[in-house]
Subunit: 548 residues, 2 copies
Amino acid sequence: MAWEDIAKDKKSRIANSIPKEWRIESLLLDDNVMGYAESSGILSDEELAITGSTAVDLVARMASGELTSVAVTTAFCKRAALAQQLTNCTLEFFPKLALRRAQELDEHFKSTGKVVGPLHGLPISLKDQFRVKEIETSMGYVAWIGNYEKENSVLVDLLLQAGAVFYVKTSVPQSLMVCETINNVIGRTVNPRNKNWSCGGSSGGEGAMVGFRGGIIGVGTDIGGSIRVPSAFNFLYGIRPSHGRLPYAKMANSMEGQETVHSVCGPLTHSVADMRLFMTSVLAQEPWKYDSKVIPLPWQQAEEDAIKAKIASKGLTIGFYKSDGNVTPHPPILRGVDTVLSTLKEAGHTIFPWTPYKHGHAHNLINTIYASDGGHDVFEAINSSGEPAIPNFQDLLKPALPKIDMNELWATHLKKWAYQSEYLEQFRLAEISLGREIDAIVCPITPTAAVRHDRFKYYGYASVVNLLDFTSVVVPVMFADKNIDTKVEGYEALSELDGVVQAEYDPVAYDGAPVAVQVVGRRLTEERIMAIAEEIGRLLGNDITTQI
Amino acid sequence: MAWEDIAKDKKSRIANSIPKEWRIESLLLDDNVMGYAESSGILSDEELAITGSTAVDLVARMASGELTSVAVTTAFCKRAALAQQLTNCTLEFFPKLALRRAQELDEHFKSTGKVVGPLHGLPISLKDQFRVKEIETSMGYVAWIGNYEKENSVLVDLLLQAGAVFYVKTSVPQSLMVCETINNVIGRTVNPRNKNWSCGGSSGGEGAMVGFRGGIIGVGTDIGGSIRVPSAFNFLYGIRPSHGRLPYAKMANSMEGQETVHSVCGPLTHSVADMRLFMTSVLAQEPWKYDSKVIPLPWQQAEEDAIKAKIASKGLTIGFYKSDGNVTPHPPILRGVDTVLSTLKEAGHTIFPWTPYKHGHAHNLINTIYASDGGHDVFEAINSSGEPAIPNFQDLLKPALPKIDMNELWATHLKKWAYQSEYLEQFRLAEISLGREIDAIVCPITPTAAVRHDRFKYYGYASVVNLLDFTSVVVPVMFADKNIDTKVEGYEALSELDGVVQAEYDPVAYDGAPVAVQVVGRRLTEERIMAIAEEIGRLLGNDITTQI
């Protein structure tokens, strides 16, 4: 069968997975579909309330018997069906399996009076890299369509153990190595706030799904911004934990086995409280007993408490940079960072300028790593069906390069290690000079607010954090405003790429686009960075339960 | 200059680094030189007592002002000088620098009444992979002679911060990839208990030095047994911590940058108490702030306490295997394991047979990894001086193989990860079947007691633990006895290699050779495994302060 026919069949199967009563009749819609669930009449008031709630609240209500998992799962399935029809964000949708699971959980609760785990009954949305038994994993590759899984990814097993319900797997860009979401199976996923903006990538389906509240906690992966960029573009919180904190075993991936820079799993959520529910629930399953790469490090409450004590005493010390010296962010992003800084300062905390240490070098180094097999693995997956390569990933993955050899790889490892250790030295030197511990660094995650399609050009703000294996939490800050965020006239570009990125800014086109920052800490500081992100969100007034 | 002349010059510089008054006149010595320090007249009674003491005791006495670092350092320098002359175990000896440092520490203590850190004044012996400012690092490569270091390895810096004194760097085999110690710079290092036995390798110089008590804590490295084998062959305790527990940054190495299986640092000691002093002292320096590969995991006292509670309630659960199914250990080793098991059983603990899971596969896989650059890096170092390759490392590193390519490496990574995770599954299944937590596995570390020269053939008992990245502590058990450990008649070999190893056994030649086991636990379980090793040593009566 021609690849077009395979893709077409898959697309129609996705469409058919949506029950008739959840289908949208007319697609004469506004660019912004964020209000559609409320006006559609497909969700009841209770279902709207459920999908507008928090995960923390929902699991508490299910654990008290006030809500059933069937009710909660039905609500999210309906809303996910809308999300799919409005943003084209799913590769798999399986409400029947989900409702069967929800019913089993409800029966368990009814008969025992007990929950099976801390996520009992909660629907969780998964990026289409997660293997779920009986469900396909195509990851947007035409050649992989028809891969029905015989076993679960480890994180899937542990989430089931914790009581989660799965109902959807969301779209990704071909190859995963792109921060927008487009593939030859279902095409492009768009941003629910404006169909002309990207939902981000590679966990872009998650971004659109959770952004639209078709999901409450979505699980993505990040090797160069793939959790954080969709979080930023959809006004969500998102964490890139350090490698080894959460299990990745038995996931599908491109460039599988590449270990110089590890892809990691992490949640996209509407609040840090929900993120914490996810993290603590997974860690409570002792993932290090299942996946050898997971460090035996349970949730460190004392680390969170240390930050809370600093918050209480106005004692946070936060470094910041607005530009990495390579590509200057657009005006909304610069204002976003400023907003966070002035908010922190007003709250009595200490901020200081952080000098990005050799970020250009780091950005080049990680690009070398991404291309270390010369794109062989990705092109094998693409070519085996005959589908064409999407144009976007030329920006990140340059397949024209030859494979590097073993000793070149080892030299690259040494460069990475030296860079990481030098960065730690920058922390130590700054701490000596400040006379206090640095708690985090606030900086852009992308140079743009939610970007227009095919305009994502610069990964450095995100990818340097991956190279360092630092913990990073994205915090939604505000929305671009054409009246405030005016274009810089006579901007002198730092480089050709910087000029291209800066030229893309258009106050009208970006009006209303989500603006975010990332809060970055040293390796394996999830508890601390999440607590700081939560406080920043609270100070900004974005620590909200409903954001529709 | 011809490589022979460079080596000769280096050798004579090492000889000249020993002050005349510490030189041995006659070298008509017994095979066993363990009593030489006592009979030589070079060390005073106090110096003999110091070198026969424990590190824990020495740092306590220096911290109370009862002993000076100069006295302690002088004693160990003298005894190290003897060790060098008797076993040929050092590549660098610098007593003058050591005594200058000791004096500075004494002056600091005198003027402030305070120690600089938990190792204040304690001499620590280093394998010649550690970089120490102003000192050469040759690692036994002729081509590297003359490399005077401009900066310290991170662990060296942190040990200095903790108060340590350095005085010697010990010998290694050419390439490091051998479990005996021989190179073209100084030749062969021998075992102080019998010059016909190997001191082990690659941290063999440490084994001989600490075994002879020319050092009290020696620091080695281990990528395939290199800490554990010399510990076993010299009746010492030795730990291979999991990767990421101790810093390795800025160490010299062969195959530098190879990250599929990491070499790790760890101490060789006479007791677990001294090992714990080392581990806690290094972790107290927060090594994760200096070396990006170190996990921010301080000493976990609660983990040690959990084991102590089990010991108190006779509640340990210990798996064991005597053979890995590939190479059957010699009779003394089998008896060694049996001795540990019966001792544990008598003490009321639970033992159960552990089935080695695919160790043959693992052994082949790690050999592929060692050879992944086809020996390119090692041969570059060897060939650049013109020195010949030592014959031994043909057993481990087969340089005739071509480099593997990037996608083959990634496939190897996946095999490693799958194997590690399957091994964890074996633990989980066994725990379900036993109905209790497994605390450790006791097994051989080598198939032989301290081996005769050039007869070390099988690395599998050690190297599978490296592939798994498990924590392993070697515990000295007893000595081979020609009257008990008789040769097995009519042994049917499992394989050609097994036949070669078994044929090597000779009760008379091995009479008196040290016999050890390793105590193995899951990744990053140092606190637990050390506590179990300590208890086994105590039960065996080997938890002693002087073992000469």
